[in-house]
Symmetry: C2
Subunit: 259 residues, 2 copies
């Protein structure tokens, strides 16, 4: 049987993107990952900064942020424009043949607008399908895709989409073609037993343990969607799923998510 090729999917986001020296150091590590790789990036606080400068108040309903048309335009400018092209240009200077994408490009990520329930989230998309054929073809040509968290509905509408979910679904879509490692990199060194102690990294977190910790309130609210996305990838046969800091890009440091 053919041994599967390796693919590494790295998601970066959060405060990391607000500090140029920090993301450049992370990209230096990303550049050194051998073989096929994909970068997925969130937005950091640049989009909020731009909105504020433009006098656009974030629309909130029951504490949840709503993506109205103005917010979508800002997100598209900051994520697909400024951040994506800065990351691509930096990676190119390091020797990685990066190519930046939204989900609309090559129809790589097709989403459905989230249906209106108790809250109308606005122009928010939930990922429906990945164009794996084109993605594999790009990887085979030694291209490193760099995805921002903007997708589309195939009908001409761009949609704001969660970057963790994009990383999870992309990895899941590639899991039967590549031995895929997915790493969610953020400002902590992993899932922490004590949020105030950066050394209390949980080495392996099983689904059962996670559900218990969640019940006990040990795992903080902000971590829950991230771990859910990690578990979804693991359940979709992604070979290895990690939640880690940037020191986990080149090493196996961090929290490994298990079933």
């Amino acid at each position: 049987m053919n041994k599967m090729k390796k693919l590494t999917v790295i998601k970066i986001g959060g405060k990391l993107l607000d500090n140029e020296a920090a993301w450049q150091a992370a990209m230096d590590d990303f550049d050194k990952i051998p073989g096929a790789k994909i970068l997925v990036h969130g937005g950091g606080k640049l989009a909020s900064d731009l909105s504020r400068k433009l006098g656009i108040e974030p629309e909130m309903v029951e504490g949840r942020r709503i993506t109205d048309s103005a917010a979508l335009e800002v997100a598209t400018m900051v994520y697909a424009g400024l951040l994506n092209k800065k990351l691509v240009s930096y990676l190119q200077s390091r020797g990685t043949n990066a190519m930046g994408f939204s989900g609309a490009d090559g129809n790589l990520i097709l989403s459905d607008k989230r249906s209106v329930g108790e809250i109308d989230f606005g122009w928010v998309g939930d990922v429906k399908t990945i164009n794996t054929t084109l993605l594999i073809s790009l990887l085979e040509q030694n291209v490193t895709p760099v995805f921002c968290a903007i997708t589309h509905d195939g009908q001409g509408q761009l949609l704001n989409t969660n970057a963790d979910t994009i990383a999870s679904v992309l990895s899941a879509g590639m899991a039967d073609k590549y031995q895929t490692t997915l790493k969610f990199c953020f400002e902590k060194n992993g899932v922490l037993l004590d949020p105030l102690d950066d050394k209390s990294v949980i080495e392996k977190l099983s689904k059962t343990a996670y559900l218990q910790q969640k019940e006990n309130g040990v795992i903080s609210a902000g971590m829950i969607p991230k771990i859910d996305n990690a578990l979804a990838a693991k359940q979709a046969m992604v070979y290895q799923v990690m939640i880690c800091g940037t020191n986990g890009i080149q090493s196996s440091k961090g929290t490994e998510i298990c079933l």
Copy 2:
């Protein structure tokens, strides 16, 4: 001998991009062009609008616009982000497998920062090389590249670049691989003998006639760089070069540039 495949390069810009119904109609025509095709787009006045909203005054030296760091960030957001992704998403909805690029993506267009002479133009790039290998591979995969007018220097620096020049140099770079037609589409129906009479389109403009008309002041200042870019493409063996209105996307209406 192998008959060469056809490639159509369409450049759209100017006022066309400020009117959604206008650019969508143009994209409906672009979608119907058979075979390999590339879109290059300028910025319209959206970037100036955003700058003004952000309180960034355009820096001018001797009547020429300077791209300082703030202006480059705005251009990257508007051209590579908002406009590029709107065009890509719209084309995808029409069935064209569009993929949006800056020159940094896949190192498709490498530029040199314009050297500082009497004027320091700031972060402005002059195109140096085109990654024709990757571009041809994308076209062969039925991908339609959509280029914004942002390139890079290969050292991590993004650069603002003239969209007409990008269209010209791209076409020139492909001219020995494809029978290439280049059309510069803008708000007039072609090069006009009388700027006030939209019916006074010059059908064929030779280099000699152009130099005479320029001497006589018949061809207005704004048209000169466009015609220079058109002539450069023609001299680089591009099969057909047109300056036209959007009614020229699907027809041969407009001004044909000849040597």
